[in-house]
Subunit: 733 residues, 2 copies
Amino acid sequence: MEKQNFSFPLSLRDVQVTDTFWKKEMELVRTEVIPYQWSALNDQVEGAAPSYCMHNFRAAGKLNQEKREQGSNFVEPVYTFRGFETLPDDPQHPEENRFYGFVFQDSDFYKWIEAVGYSLTQHPDPQLEAIADGAIDLVCAAQQEDGYLDTYYILNGKDRIFTNLRDNHELYCLGHLLEGAVAYYQATGKDKLLNAARRYADYVADYFGPEEGKCKGYPGHEIAEMALVRLYETTGDSKYLNLAKYFVDERGSRPYYFDKEHPEEVKKHPNGPRYAYNQAHVPVREQDEAVGHAVRAVYLYSGMADIARLTEDETLFAACQTLWDNMTRKKLYITGGIGGTHEGEAFSFNYDLPNDTAYAETCASIGLVFFARRMLEICPDSRYADVMEQALYNTVLSGMALDGKSFFYVNPLEVLPEACHKDSRKFHVKPVRQKWFGCACCPPNLARTISSVSSYAFTEKEDTLFVHLYVGSDLKKTVNGKEAAVHITSGFPWDGTVQVRAESADEPLTIAFRVPGWAEGCTAELTSGHGTTGYSAETTSEQSGKGYRVELTSKPVASSDPHCDICPDATSSRLSILGLAPGEFELRDGYLYITRIWKSGETLTLHFPMEVQIWQADPRVREDIGKVAVTRGPITYCLEEADNGANLHLLTLSPEAAATVEEAVVAGEPVRTILLPGFREVLPDADAEEAGSRLGLYRPASRPEKTPVTLRFIPYYTWANRGENEMAVWVRV
Amino acid sequence: MEKQNFSFPLSLRDVQVTDTFWKKEMELVRTEVIPYQWSALNDQVEGAAPSYCMHNFRAAGKLNQEKREQGSNFVEPVYTFRGFETLPDDPQHPEENRFYGFVFQDSDFYKWIEAVGYSLTQHPDPQLEAIADGAIDLVCAAQQEDGYLDTYYILNGKDRIFTNLRDNHELYCLGHLLEGAVAYYQATGKDKLLNAARRYADYVADYFGPEEGKCKGYPGHEIAEMALVRLYETTGDSKYLNLAKYFVDERGSRPYYFDKEHPEEVKKHPNGPRYAYNQAHVPVREQDEAVGHAVRAVYLYSGMADIARLTEDETLFAACQTLWDNMTRKKLYITGGIGGTHEGEAFSFNYDLPNDTAYAETCASIGLVFFARRMLEICPDSRYADVMEQALYNTVLSGMALDGKSFFYVNPLEVLPEACHKDSRKFHVKPVRQKWFGCACCPPNLARTISSVSSYAFTEKEDTLFVHLYVGSDLKKTVNGKEAAVHITSGFPWDGTVQVRAESADEPLTIAFRVPGWAEGCTAELTSGHGTTGYSAETTSEQSGKGYRVELTSKPVASSDPHCDICPDATSSRLSILGLAPGEFELRDGYLYITRIWKSGETLTLHFPMEVQIWQADPRVREDIGKVAVTRGPITYCLEEADNGANLHLLTLSPEAAATVEEAVVAGEPVRTILLPGFREVLPDADAEEAGSRLGLYRPASRPEKTPVTLRFIPYYTWANRGENEMAVWVRV
């Protein structure tokens, strides 16, 4: 961990996304998801279970008002809640003063306001902003005089606040409040919600902490850690950082805080480590395996990385690295999904990555993106960005239908609809996306992530702009007090060509371009107004004992030219890019750093060839043995019944055969599909079987009869947009 | 269904099992299981949860005595039970008057007494018989004046009897009582328990039935149907047959009887067919798919077959055939296991036969044996016996450790111990057998089945003895009032040679020998005292569109002889067996019928070659695609880590390669193991991985590096006797 490497996300107000691919997703969020969610928060969606989210804020505001009016005559409600979720006896007529929904229902608004904030930076919308301001008034009216703000306890009895941190999501709601408030403030400059959030954070900081007499608890569902860091970075008040650090440091220490709340747990696992589900089984610095609820895990790890960076805590960073390595080397689906089991929505054991019962929650991949970005902030190494890209373009996007109107929580890698309907072990796997759920974590989480995609694409430090993801954008960056402008256009994810035009106002600016791990034979060339040079530098990836080594070497292309400049000694000095002086660039940790005074009229063209790639899993992954998966650039592909017929398990692929990439449209989405030759095993004659064969289910082994077929692969994120059907990412060889 | 084909099990008193293989199993049951279970029933097993079974009978007997003593002053208990299972607050000091254990706890004794009965026929044991007689006294003392006999309701309040037929196993306990009482009566001639059982059956027959005013319910857990038939066949009282028929006919009719008991179920599934779990979703004659709890299903089908035979009910028999076909062609594991899912311990959908999450309960395969024997009683077709054999030698035997001291409920086809410990989806799969369970269905069920194995091996009708399984035995059979003796010795399951010596006292006796479906090139020859003939008949199995056609043709063996007698026209007349006249034998439905006056000094030698066979599943079985399984004779084989190292999924088999059969000993059991050449995929270097490779979990597909290995297969029933380790039945090709 070297402080001079640290970088930070750009303010979204300094980035305008122009990218064809992502702009479409962001527009879906703006035009479909945000309005739909506002209706949902207000229980106005036909046919959907009411959320009661705004109802609760209204009820708490009313209670507040009564309290003010009645003064000392006011009687506080006494805790009477009936469970983790409660619904009115008559859904049409909820009682005005009662809390309904899940214990964490408040967070739905906070996620929404966060998405609204991001969206406003990219697309000003006074009408939406007015709705948001009105909603913020409602929320602030619910806040208690003392700063406390959680409608679940306000309405059900404040006598029980912070008594069930493990289960009741109180500090989780705080975290989302902070995230939403900061985002809205950064987008609009309006600080009403931010001030309310600070007051609640102050209340919490007075309540929890290492000091004597303070509560020694910590969140059951993490997020407050990273959110408090964000509040600290926005306000500069170190109290919030200290609280976040306290939560992280205290977590998992013995005796377990959660044991005090849940003595029954001690009986169940007397010798145990307990609370692995909450990543509270051992102190975080001793954790070396990603375990428990996957969303909670990556939210915690994100907070750990933040605190490691801000406190320059090497042991904490080492824990982050260990957890990252464990997760990405032993527990990561090739779709960027994490969480192998629906039991506890959790990580399974090392190398246990079932395809058909996967959980791979959309929110978990979102959290993985958070964690990856934070690791990149500390250490710009392309392996973090590679995973971030893999999660974003695949499992995160798969979470939302192409029309933005339905959502997946679970993102399996293999689906047989009959099994989803008939096999209760797979009831969590849905063969079609669902409308807004009662437990609405994924849709609003998607909205806030997609709306802020540029904060994952780019980070900056004093003199350097990092391009982690190739999201076409117009950016502003201040270098030595002067504003530089960078314009990026990108063909991602279908075409690997990226063009960069920049002006850095006579100041040297470094732009660090990620060389994706999947790209072999990348080229870079700088051209000025008077045409291309005809030469380019090329990277080749070589597999070595240590993994991939990326080398840039110059090599003639198209028209041949004698000025080929290769230095054979050191890796970085072997590079040359025509148009750039030797000292202007270097390749380090998977990033191509180009430092120069950028001038108008020049174009840097990067090309990352997107070849069809066939992958196998580590053979320790039992579920993928004898199978391969197909990717191209950042996109993971899958087979769908709509293109390949039923019984996808009968298909085999010939991995050495040449692939064809085809422009195509899947459910209205222009994509590249991949055609690969393969075979389909012929099913035995059903008639013979019905006619009373004695063969039964088993017959002497013989070489299966197969017919040659062409397998058509579609991008994973586009599956399940053409009705209910089979899908498979892994196909037999 | 033709009445002249009907056959019946022989009285166990007329069969003495001499078989090396089965005698050992029976001795295990006699010397280990029966004494252990008696201790368990009396709560005397160190370290095991008490059963409370005999405690309950004692308590009910005491209550009965009080009732007699107090007369009209006696106050009946009022129903106060606390759930499906109840245990004393202090396990060391159960209250004398209370019921403990599961609602079906009585049945544990009934299964035990049934096993004791069978065992006494094979091994007289006055001491055991005295214990059994004493226990029967206790049980009979618990019976109420009116005949009612279920300690659960006697102790908890008779006001609720027969009010929860679906869940509370009252008629299930009746069924086991009848089975146990008949078995003990047939073994010992003692009728005390039989009379008690009849009185309870009379009570039930008065309570239930089609007549007006009687209860229209039927059992939630089937077994009473076949048990009542057995009582009818023992006593000749058609009342019991009528009640069994009523239970079968009424089942699944609308409105559902269970809806009356469980109106909440109607709300949950307002439109749907309900009670598929209990096979009560539609009337039995309309059932065409084996569904629901697998044990219940095959117990029902067994009763249906019994009633179809006794009432010559073609529609009922047709339903049995349909269900048999569905089950054996779409839902049967190659181990003879049924029940693909632990959710409801149930059948999954067609062709859904997961190996690692299989339920395949021992009791379900026992029930499958019951069903198969009953189908054979109606229709002697070897396909029923083939499945019966498959279940008995594999999943049934797998249910018990080789030392008779621990038991499997669940019989998976693939086990990774780490998954059983860490993956809650597989918690039902145990990597090692367990001691006696609180819910003790499988161990006593195994005891009664193994003790009575000869009743599955042989059935008889007037002039014919059917040999379904080659269990070495000395049998008596009455033909035309005269006693014939048949002595069978068998090398099964390791050697396919069977020798038969018989004397039929000048009366023609037909012995029908099953030609196993797995046997190709069987030979038969009759030799007299003065040496073998040098000729034999040989069966060959040919696969046709309709399945296997078995042909017996004579063919010279060993020393060559000119008298080869082949009739080329009709199938049966093409046979010849040296030493037999042409009219003395025929081949029909997989049985070789030999009719003659059997004489002392002659030996019929049958030989069923046991070749190593490699099988593939119907490709509709997704979990077995690309894999094969190995059998030899009746035995299904598996790979175990103890012989083949960890990570069995890395192994592949070369199915065309020659197998070696080796005599070996597995955990003390002399068996044949099978060696087959194959390969083991080499795992990537763990060091390189730890050293910070960028490769992560996925790498470009390449032909996997493999080393040649010899795969050692052991009989499936012997697995998990050498400590916890991996196991797999199906192996990749």
